[in-house]
Symmetry: C2
Subunit: 152 residues, 2 copies
């Protein structure tokens, strides 16, 4: 194996690991599982989280509180996540995702779209989330609709 192909293989492996960490994030969100969030986030002062439309949450205690608040107020949520890109630079990586989110309200599924930036830092071989920034995509009239079924 040439040096170039070893390097390419390492990059592929890094990208796959970041994709896996990114998947864990959305699994934790969809299953409203605070323990999975606890395990995924770097529990440090400099981590930050911007939920769509919210003020910023700074530092792990604030970030964690925001997830607890969201999870406590969410009955059912479904994600369809399109991972648009992964960039890995040494021990940092960021993903950009297009999230279609369906939440159940009074028996009806209401859909919305969010673009997110997720920054991960590698610590002892594990990719930990250090920054999440989610923002609403303004829907056109034809995109915003109520259905009886969640996104698939």
């Amino acid at each position: 194996m040439s040096e170039t192909s070893i390097k390419a293989s390492m990059i592929d492996r890094d990208i796959a690991s970041v994709q896996e960490a990114n998947k864990i994030f959305y699994d934790a969100f969809e299953t409203l599982d605070i323990q999975k969030m606890d395990n995924l986030w770097l529990q440090d002062d400099y981590v930050k989280c911007v939920h769509p439309g919210w003020e910023i949450c700074r530092g792990w205690p604030d970030v964690r509180d925001s997830w607890v608040l969201i999870f406590n107020h969410t009955h059912e949520i479904k994600f369809s996540v399109c991972l648009l890109d992964v960039t890995v630079k040494a021990d940092l990586a960021w993903t950009v995702c297009n999230e279609t989110i369906a939440t159940k309200d009074n028996g009806k599924w209401l859909e919305g779209r969010v673009l997110s930036t997720n920054v991960f830092e590698r610590r002892q071989g594990a990719w930990l989330l250090v920054h999440h920034h989610g923002s609403p995509v303004l829907a056109t009239a034809s995109q915003e609709e109520e259905t009886d079924e969640p996104v698939t």
Copy 2:
């Protein structure tokens, strides 16, 4: 000078350089100066930009087009930028900013608030912008108001 203080001094210098790059970004935006944007952004395929409410722009040509479009449709804009935090990790850094933006429309200044994540990459000693994600902060009734004067 001890090794620790040399390291601290290098970190301070890095943070100052990133702050300066972040300032250049907002200067370029406020003065609607596409050449400053050209110089600040890394002109590569993997750079991305999310303007508040927009779909994502991917790759330098798309990102540049978005700035040209914004600049062509903006008559006057004023920023009050509060840099909330700078994180530097080797040759990557990200800033988080609270932007109060005033735009002039029919002689009236209209204010809005945006939270932004800006990711910079160091290339040959210069911090270049590789990712900008801006998203609207939902204003309360008391925060959203028209004035005759821009933000200061």
